[in-house]
């Protein structure tokens, strides 16, 4: 789960990582009140779960409280890479002497947490990695050893931080960032930029924070931070129904069981010349009600012209899937073509149930490839 900047900063503060003082605002009037309370100048920052908001005009300086109100009015409602801005973070403007970068990520390849640090912060880190790789210091942490003061020292010395005051502050932030990473079970904690003020104070000016969905059951406070309104409305409905759904741009609704098979089905629909409308995974179980729920999500997408069910029963039973399809077609009056391919557990029963129902818009196919071809033909 990705957190907003203001949420990530709240977690940073909990672990003692210094940030600037700020307030959240959802209206221009609230932004003005926040600026009055904090003291000007302030920065008005769009809160969106995507990058590139600075370039899109989502971050603006305001010299006065009325100006903060005006800037907030411009930013609220703005569309940044498909995300509508509904919240702005108002923060006391910081004087910046230098911009560094510090992150802690989940290095899947090494199977260890990985610190990355550079004094060339404030820009896209992939650019630093590409143009001046020597300036980017990488350091793995052994998860059983944990993070010790030497990790912080190594990062600042290898990163050539000259000032001893900065060295001490950054090394301390390194330790606290590790505590936040482990304490919140994060997959990513990034501070870009980590700024140095003219007074020599080091602070996190931004935050990128991603928490492991599988660990949310034991972090109720973080789980509550999920902004259900921010997700695609169909994806939000799917989450509510317990269906894994990702919206794509085409016309063929794709429904499979299991992530790998569903991903492969989306690929095969594309390879035979079609354009998938979504990725929808019924999951491991998949009883009749699960199928009804999934179809309810898929048909809300107005672009859908045909649906391809590709089921390989393991735990999932094909007769249950067939019953769910019939139930959904009847309940929701689905009129467009549904192509069904059933194999595996109870496949014969499932096929018989569908044949006996003899619905005009139901098409059975024997293989995944033929099913995909048929669905693509019928979606035109």
């Amino acid at each position: 789960m990705d957190l907003y900047e203001y949420q990530g900063k709240e977690l940073f503060r909990r672990y003692g990582i210094p940030t600037s003082e700020g307030r959240l605002a959802t209206t221009p009037a609230e932004a003005r009140a926040a600026a009055e309370e904090l003291g000007v100048p302030v920065v008005v920052k769009a809160q969106v779960l995507t990058g590139g908001r600075g370039k899109a005009g989502g971050i603006k300086l305001a010299e006065s409280a009325p100006e903060a109100e005006a800037r907030a009015a411009e930013i609220l409602g703005m569309d940044i890479r498909g995300h509508t801005v509904t919240k702005v973070w108002i923060e006391r403007a910081s004087d910046i002497e230098r911009e560094y970068y510090l992150s802690l990520t989940f290095d899947r390849s090494a199977k260890k947490p990985l610190f990355m640090f550079t004094t060339q912060g404030g820009v896209d880190i992939e650019e630093v990695a590409a143009t001046s790789p020597d300036a980017l210091v990488r350091l793995h942490v052994d998860p059983l050893e944990g993070c010790h003061p030497w990790h912080g020292r190594k990062l600042v010395y290898d990163g050539r931080v000259a000032d001893s005051g900065e060295q001490k502050q950054i090394a301390a932030i390194v330790g606290k960032l590790y505590e936040a990473f482990v304490g919140c079970e994060a997959m990513l904690c990034e501070i870009n930029p980590l700024i140095v003020t003219p007074d020599g104070e080091v602070r996190a000016l931004d935050s990128k924070f991603t928490v492991d969905d599988n660990a949310l059951f034991r972090h109720a406070d973080i789980a509550e931070m999920r902004d259900v309104g921010a997700a695609d409305p169909l994806e939000a409905l799917a989450r509510e129904k317990g269906v894994t759904y990702v919206k794509l741009d085409g016309e063929v609704g794709v429904l499979g069981n299991g992530a790998g098979l569903t991903m492969s089905t989306v690929d095969v629909v594309t390879f035979v010349g079609g354009s998938p409308a979504n990725f929808c995974d019924l999951g491991g179980g998949g009883d009749a009600q699960g199928v009804v729920d999934a179809l309810e999500v898929i048909i809300r997408d107005p672009q859908v012209r045909a649906i391809f069910f590709n089921i390989f029963g393991g735990i999932t039973r094909c007769d249950e899937v067939a019953r769910g399809i019939l139930q959904a077609v009847e309940q929701m009056g689905i009129a467009y073509p549904i192509v069904v391919r059933l194999d595996g557990t109870n496949a014969e029963d499932g096929r018989r149930i569908l044949t006996e129902a003899a619905l005009p818009n139901l098409h059975a196919e024997a293989t995944m490839l033929d099913g995909a071809r048929r669905a693509v033909e019928l979606a035109v």
């Binding site: 989940f106 899947r108 390849s109 199977k111 260890k112 947490p113 992939e126 052994d142 998860p143 059983l144 482990v182 079970e185 997959m187 492991d212 969905d213 599988n214 660990a215 059951f217 034991r218 894994t244 990702v246 794509l248 499979g256 069981n257 299991g258 992530a259 790998g260 098979l261 569903t262 991903m263 492969s264 989306v266 690929d267 095969v268 594309t270 390879f271 998938p276 990725f279 995974d281 491991g284 390989f312 029963g313 393991g314 735990i315 999932t316 194999d343 595996g344 557990t345 293989t367 995944m368 490839l369």
Partner: protein, 290 residues
């Protein structure tokens, strides 16, 4: 022969008294797996259809000589169950449970290094050696015994490819689902090395998907460390970046982890990659036919 599980496997099922554990434990036994014990704290002394249940893995091991554990307990308790199995001297642990926190897996992965333990999973369908033993939830009736090793990050996609192989008259030595999480106990590399050393296995199918770089690492190993032919399939060519495609591990982040990059990494090492499950099975059949 086959790998990981066979006729010599002595299986203890952690969570045997739960509904899923019971269903699959008994199904594994009906396929011929030697299921010697179950473990559920507080239910020691009971039995599940004649399989004795113990309170601890240690007592199950000392009473029954179990050497392989299948973990079927809910996600919040799965890490504990894996540590308990390892502490009791189990050398092969198969964790089916979905939703184990990634930080737990980081620590367990570090913990098993140098202990002589093979961990498969979590969030995986397990391992099946057709005609010998089935440890997990793979529907054995789809597969037949043969010489093709199959290793995959996915469950149902494995069944799909196994089914395509069966249709072409090909069978499997062992089918291994390594799991779809960011950190799993065994990666492609470890399983490929086992297949390379297994006399029954003549060639291998590797079924990957978007996310991480295990397919890229496997490509290097296949070229330098394997004599047996490998055919690959990658799912997720059309997946958009930044969206998790069902498996926690299946996400394209930045420029890394795309299906295209994996395909290219494999092909530059001379490994053939099928564009669909059907074509993948056909490539395997071509190689098998010589």
């Amino acid at each position: 022969m086959a790998i990981l599980v066979d006729t010599s496997t002595r299986l203890v099922v952690q969570g045997l008294t739960g509904s899923e554990g019971r269903f699959h434990g008994l199904r594994n036994r009906s396929h011929g797996t030697n299921v010697v014990a179950g473990v559920t704290p507080g239910k020691g002394g009971q039995d599940v259809d004649g399989i004795p249940v113990f309170d601890t893995v240690a007592s199950a091991v000392s009473e029954t000589d179990a050497d392989t554990a299948m973990v079927f307990v809910p996600a919040p308790f799965a890490a504990d169950a894996m540590y308990e199995a390892i502490a009791a001297g189990i050398t092969t642990v198969v964790c089916i449970t979905e939703g184990v926190p990634a930080h737990e897996m980081l620590r367990i992965h570090a913990h098993i290094q140098g202990r002589g333990v093979t961990l498969i999973g979590p969030n995986c369908p397990g391992a099946l050696s057709p005609g010998k033993a089935n440890v997990g939830i793979i529907p054995a009736e789809i597969f037949r015994e043969g010489s093709i090793g199959l290793v995959s990050r996915s469950g149902t996609l494995t069944y799909q490819i196994g089914h395509e192989l069966t249709q072409l008259g090909l069978g499997n030595s062992t089918i291994v689902g390594i799991g779809g999480d960011p950190i799993v106990g065994s990666s492609f590399l470890e399983v490929l090395a086992l297949f390379e050393a297994d006399p029954q296995t003549q060639q291998v199918v590797m079924v990957g998907e978007i996310g991480g770089d295990e397919e890229e690492k496997a490509a290097v190993f296949i070229q330098s460390g394997m004599t047996k032919p490998v055919v690959a399939y990658i799912a997720g060519f059309t997946a958009p970046p930044g969206k998790t495609m069902g498996h926690a591990g299946a996400i394209i982040s930045g420029s890394a982890g795309t299906a295209q990059a994996k395909k290219e990494a494999l092909e530059t090492k001379g490994i053939r990659v099928g564009t669909t499950p059907t074509e993948t099975a056909q490539l395997v059949a071509e190689i098998a036919a010589g």
